[in-house]
């Protein structure tokens, strides 16, 4: 087969209307299946498994061996995108009669591109601030990371952040910034922690590998992984640090353990923790004041607002902003929304979102509306004109 033949085979395949129909049919099945699966997996689980994947994976019953079940959203969406673009390039020719259809298709292409941009580049974090507290980072809603922090320097912390999937897959980590290897002995995606009673039998909970830090005093019990929108999994792991001369120790880590776990190695001080993944920014927010107003004589909330001060590290920005419902703070591509608040305890939680493609769906819808209006309008006018001719 020559290169020209391969090229023609590609083109023939990707401009095929049959491919379009098959892909649309498969997409309908995928959406239907994903909608049903949302009952058990929740919105995030369904998005990851069905729509933001190339293949929908299942497992062989009673094993963890993955098997492909169905093409995923990226696969179908990607092929549809190629199919649409290729068809326009090779099949369609511009005429005013078909301009509406082409504009509608262009809107559809934009819609697909917009979803891709959103899934690849959208960031969504939360920022919890106590009153008068300043923070230059936001925390992930769903992702966690193991951090090993060299705290020896009096002014700086040197952080090595290991995403939780490394722990889940029990992948050893030997990072140049660390003089030891990080080995995961045990990982639970969701767990509850309780106080360990030395006298109690250990017939529930998981084996306690910890010999350093808080772990020996803590009982870890597995919990079912949750996919609910208003809940998050709190993982736990036993992490062993291996130096060239032998193991340093094994620690229990979990986002529930807020107390610091520290140790010394070769004259340097370290802290380790499993925490919500952080995203540092070159500016900080300080919560100056929070307000929770209610309608007089009732407990019905009238207004939640957070007065924050934004200061950039380079000193260029220093201003105050009031964030309240439908009045977010927008700064350097990030949008800060009022998310949660506890005025009694004095803290506010902001939702931090970056979505560089947020305007694309609006533009796509406008283009599709214009295209359909043009197409139907042109047909309608033609029909009316023909009718007049007939009547006359």
């Amino acid at each position: 087969m020559t290169f020209a033949e391969i090229r023609r085979a590609f083109i023939r395949f990707f401009i095929s209307l049959r491919v379009t129909i098959v892909l649309l049919a498969l997409s309908i099945v995928l959406v239907f299946w994903g909608t049903l699966a949302q009952v058990h997996l929740g919105i995030w689980g369904v998005q990851d498994k069905f729509f933001r994947s190339f293949v929908v994976l299942g497992t062989i019953p009673k094993t963890d061996i993955p098997v492909p079940l169905f093409p995923g959203g990226y696969f179908l969406g990607g092929l549809l995108l190629i199919n649409l673009v290729a068809s326009h390039l090779y099949r369609f020719r511009f005429t005013w009669d078909k301009a509406g259809i082409q504009l509608t298709h262009f809107g559809l292409i934009l819609l697909l591109v917009g979803e891709l941009v959103t899934s690849l580049f959208q960031e969504e974090y939360q920022l919890r601030l106590d009153e008068n507290q300043a923070r230059n980072y936001a925390e992930s809603f769903r992702q966690n990371e193991l951090v090993i922090i060299d705290t020896t320097d009096p002014e700086w912390d040197d952080v090595v952040a290991i995403p939780e999937p490394f722990l889940a897959r029990r992948r050893d980590v030997q990072h140049p910034a660390l003089p030891f290897r990080v080995v995961t002995r045990y990982h639970l995606p969701n767990a509850n922690l309780g106080l360990q009673d030395p006298a109690a039998p250990r017939d529930f909970g998981v084996p306690n590998y910890a010999n350093r830090g808080l772990g020996p005093q803590v009982l870890v019990t597995p919990l079912r992984v949750t996919h609910k929108e208003n809940e998050r999994n709190l993982p736990a792991a036993y992490v062993e640090l291996h130096a060239p001369e032998g193991p340093i120790g094994t620690w229990l880590v979990s986002p529930m353990l807020v107390q610091p776990q520290t140790f010394e190695y070769r004259g340097r001080s370290y802290r380790l923790a499993l925490r919500f993944s952080r995203e540092y920014k070159p500016f900080s927010l300080t919560l100056k004041e929070l307000r929770h107003d209610i309608y007089p004589g009732s407990n019905i909330p009238k207004n939640f607002s957070s007065l924050v001060r934004l200061q950039s590290a380079d000193g260029r920005d220093d201003f105050e902003a009031l964030i309240f419902m439908n009045n977010p703070l927008r700064h350097r591509g990030l949008t800060y929304y009022q998310y949660q608040m506890d005025s009694v305890s004095g803290f506010s939680v902001l939702q931090v979102v970056r979505n560089p493609g947020w305007t694309i769906p609006y533009i796509a819808c406008v283009l599709m509306s214009l295209g359909l209006t043009w197409q139907f309008g042109r047909h309608l006018l033609g029909f009316i004109a023909r009718r007049r001719t007939t009547v006359a």
Binding site: I6, A9, V19, A134, W156, P163, L195, Q259, Y280
Partner: protein
Amino acid sequence: MPGFLPRSPRLLALAPALWLAGCGGPDVIAYRVPKEPEIPPELASAAASTPEAPAAGALVWQSPAAWEAKALTAMRRGSYAIRGPDGGEADFSIIAFPGAAGGLLENINRWRQQVSLPPFSPAQLNEHIRHLDVGPLHFDLVDFAGPLDGELTRITGAVLSHRGESWFFKLMGPDEVVRAAHADFMGLIHSTRPRS
């Protein structure tokens, strides 16, 4: 469906390549950040090396003058020794733990086990427990004594859920020492309030 599939199956080799291109997640990263200007309260309490630290995390309290503060550990937010007139000594500890820490029933039964008492059923716990509101804080109070190594040992305790943590205030020691310290214990409970 003739003509639907590409003629060369070699073209299908692109599919796994496309799939693999989408694989891969976040990687291990290293970075340097300035130390946080303010130590979170939970860290401050556990990091405090001086036993007289009055504020420990999200709560503050007034400890009785006669109680002798002891060194804190990673788990203890408050730790005191109470000496009786006859040389007996009771221990008072304040421990905070994230989440429900196993639940109220399990923890009260853990305390009962420590003084050789049988566990409560949920109904028995409901009958035994007393409730106390101190400002915005709600305490569950228990008090029982059991034979421990041939000596009557009493536990007077309070359990509180606050800002996602379970707090355990436990006074444990010889029966007469704990009874004598009961008023001081309640005074400490009444003085407890959220950190402002």
